[in-house]
């Protein structure tokens, strides 16, 4: 290993982002699991059949909208880490992988934006 680690001699491989993303997947996963339980509980403990009124009513409460919004952002990060790992594992050519990374980001950010719009427009 070179003792010079600046300029052109700087070692640029191994970006060192493993721990943050590993922990982020756990934290976002736990948050989404909690959200699933909360949502399921509301659905299960609604007396009578669930029609449009009951279902839309769940998401009409402001606290539920804010929680869902947070979960959407959590999902965005969680999916990005997962999908990026898949590309990293199976796609060796850098050019193809870069296209897939960008495409995945566009896909995810578009989905996030659309779902946030859906959440607040009804």
């Amino acid at each position: 290993m070179s003792s010079v680690n600046y300029g052109s001699k700087r070692i640029v491989t191994g970006a060192g982002y493993g721990f943050r993303d590993w922990l982020a997947q756990r934290v976002t996963g736990a948050l989404m699991a909690l959200f699933t339980v909360i949502l399921l509980a509301q659905v299960i403990f609604t007396s009578g059949p669930i029609g449009y009124e009951q279902w839309a009513g769940i998401f009409a409460a402001q606290w539920m909208r804010v929680l869902t919004f947070t979960v959407i952002l959590a999902l965005l990060y969680h999916v990005w880490v997962g999908v990026r790992d898949i590309w990293m594992d199976y796609i060796k050519p850098v050019g193809v992988r870069l296209v897939l990374h960008v495409g995945s980001m566009v896909w995810l950010i578009g989905c996030a934006g659309w779902s946030i719009q859906v959440l607040w427009r009804f």
Partner: protein
């Protein structure tokens, strides 16, 4: 350095396609690869999920349209095919969720023995496939 040492041996996986299908994946291996596959499936179907959420929540009229898609189908896809798609999503979510909880449990409790890996993998597969069957029966109107 001899000539042999200087020229390093190269191994090409020319038998990969014949060898790979003959490997026996243990239950924990199945849980792992299915965790990845279910995640990728949900990633690919994300717009469909948002479409379902949108239609289910916007109005009475769109809610009726949304439920109709699973009975009557849309222009090119019959209703039962849409239900199958929904079932695939249900399985993907259940498996990913339960396998994820298994990950979290192993992380928190340092339960990394081979025996726990095997037993927890069996529980994961049974629970996820079982719940998928139960919810699928409900979806297809069996009860």
């Amino acid at each position: 350095m001899t000539d042999l040492a200087r020229k390093r041996p190269e191994f090409r996986n020319i038998n990969a396609l014949t060898d790979l299908p003959s490997y026996r994946l243990p239950p924990a291996g199945w849980v792992s690869i299915l965790h990845r596959i279910s995640g990728l499936l949900m990633f690919a179907l994300l717009p469909f999920i948002i479409w379902m959420f949108d239609n289910s929540i916007t109005s009475e009229f769109s809610y009726a349209k949304f439920t109709a898609v699973f009975n009557v189908g849309c222009s090119f896809v019959p209703g039962w095919m849409m239900k199958l798609l929904a079932l695939a999503l249900i399985w993907a979510y259940l498996h990913h969720f339960i396998a994820g909880l298994r990950h979290l449990y192993m992380d928190v409790n340092h339960a990394v023995s081979k025996e726990f890996g095997r037993s927890s993998a069996w529980v994961t597969l049974t629970l996820s496939l079982g719940l998928t069957a139960v919810l699928g029966a409900k979806l297809f109107g069996l009860y």
